[in-house]
Assembly symmetry: C2
Homo-oligomer: 319 residues x 2
């Protein structure tokens, strides 16, 4: 395999000059430049990028940590990241964690070992302390509502979003409101739960633990939700659903089971995915792609910032 030294010999110049040509530095005479370019063409030369990485100390590789890629929420985030990464000549290294801390540690290790320049953690299982330990190896950005001095974040204020959704349902006459959630231990789920509890207190409503349904991650969990609803003596009249995909599943199930929407059960989804529009599901628009872009920019940028993204209730037919 040809290397820069060979080129130098062929073109009758120094390796420095070859490097200059390769990197389009000025201060190379046209004559030598041509000689080098010819040598490059003749040998079909290309850089060994690993040598470049070693030398420069960076790789233009950005790590992206997410639990699942198939999940529409993360897919949209990833799409946004990918689009802007392209513009900035970054490539993405994917860490699909399934919420296993060990996989996140893999990513942090790669940062430490300089294989990636920075890291976007879309959803986190490891502790903040662990992340902070790795901050000086490269920038790490998070997609959650926390404000540390050293860590940039882009987030949805799940507390207020959830609270507003609940208020909306209350205004529509609902007092028995349940919700389902992907992973109750997650940081945004906790904010939602807090909002839920505060809402109940505000309107002096009774707390029914069975109204919170955990582990609703996939379309197929919709069946589980409806089944559970049917076992309840006092079922909720409205449901906030993890996301639109699952909301679509719930709507379909209700259809199958003869539950009228919104009369017997009102539904609000999250994310404003195409399926929600198609099935006329009331939902909350969250600009995921834009969030992805922002995360990327924070990761490559110098300053620390905390960006709260704006969301919007989309009123449709399921409330």
């Amino acid at each position: 395999m040809t290397n820069i030294k060979d080129l130098a010999k062929m073109a009758g110049v120094s390796v420095t000059t070859v490097s200059r040509v390769l990197n389009e530095h000025p201060y190379v005479s046209e004559k030598k430049r041509m000689a080098v370019l010819e040598a490059i063409k003749a040998t079909n030369y290309h850089k060994n990028i690993n040598a470049v990485h070693l030398s420069k100390g960076n790789t233009l590789l950005m790590g992206v940590v997410l639990p699942f890629t198939g999940h529409p929420y993360f897919a949209s985030l990833l799409k946004g990241i990918a689009r802007i990464a392209l513009e900035h000549d970054y490539k993405l290294v994917l860490f699909q964690t399934d919420y296993l801390e060990s996989r996140e540690l893999d990513a942090l290790l790669m940062l430490k070992e300089k294989q990636i320049d920075s890291l976007i953690i879309c959803s986190r299982a490891c502790s903040l302390a662990t992340i902070e330990e790795h901050l000086h190896y490269g920038s790490i950005v998070l997609c959650e509502n926390i404000k540390r001095e050293q860590i940039s974040t882009t987030f949805v204020n799940h507390y207020s979003v959830f609270f507003e959704a609940l208020e909306y349902l209350y205004q529509k006459g609902h007092q028995k409101i349940g919700y389902c959630i992907g992973r109750r231990s997650g940081s945004s789920s906790k904010k939602r739960e807090q909002a839920y509890k505060d809402f109940l207190v505000k309107y002096d409503l009774h707390f029914r633990p069975e109204y919170i349904m955990d582990n609703c991650l996939y379309v197929e969990d919709a069946e589980k939700i409806i089944k559970e609803l049917k076992t309840m003596e006092v079922p909720p009249t409205a449901l906030l659903v993890t996301n639109d995909q699952i909301a679509a599943g719930v709507v379909t199930c209700c259809h199958n089971e003869g539950i009228a929407i919104p009369d017997e059960l009102a539904i609000i989804g999250f994310d404003n995915q195409p399926i929600a529009k198609m099935m006329n599901i009331t939902t909350i628009d969250i600009p995921h792609e834009q969030m992805g872009e922002n995360l990327f920019l924070q990761a490559v940028g110098e300053e620390i910032s905390h960006t709260e993204v704006k969301v919007k209730l989309i009123e449709r037919g399921t409330v």
Copy 2:
């Protein structure tokens, strides 16, 4: 930043010995090993992985080229790849191409420059010749039904699958069958089209160009499909739909428009996604995750192979 040389000095050994300890080579005395380990602990040392890459000539990085990550078909493929990559200590570099050849060339360039060891191309826009030019830089595997000596492939026989689906519909009494497709110029689409034409010939059916609907990639394209159907003087009585997501959209639209399924319009989806089960859509099960795994194994393996995966018609309520 500490390096291996510093460690050697601290531990009073040679860099070779340090390297041996780091890589768990045998032939290091317990005493020296301990000394090195202590130095490592004291300095919080970690390898500069780029130096390792340069030295070893590989990166344990696998490129994955796909047009969109959000698309359920590619998401499943990716999921399969990710799972097995983890087992093999490989990390994935994602190339989201949007079917732009330039992005695929990016990936091929990374292979050439040794930043990735091998490349899985899930869907291709560039020419086979271009791919073949890059084969000696690392292995490249494809996810389509072609059989070149140098390129491993894992594929669905879209021709026979499509043909069988058409036969199934024919047996059910359908003679006016349309289909929609993601990207008509794609290689699998061409096989489907051939199957479609051969089917028409076999049963002496009339070819109606409007029965082939191109560019159906997302759920929201379902509306377009139904709209088009309604403009036809002789609309098809059955539709093979790109995938289950879109099929779900079509079913929903038909619902909205009062088109009875399967009586007025029969539907067959592809992929056997959860949504199809939920909505009771007849579909064709394609083991994407398994395909992903196989692609990965082919990419890291030595021999060239061509694997045809088995698919299965899942009879449900839309035919």
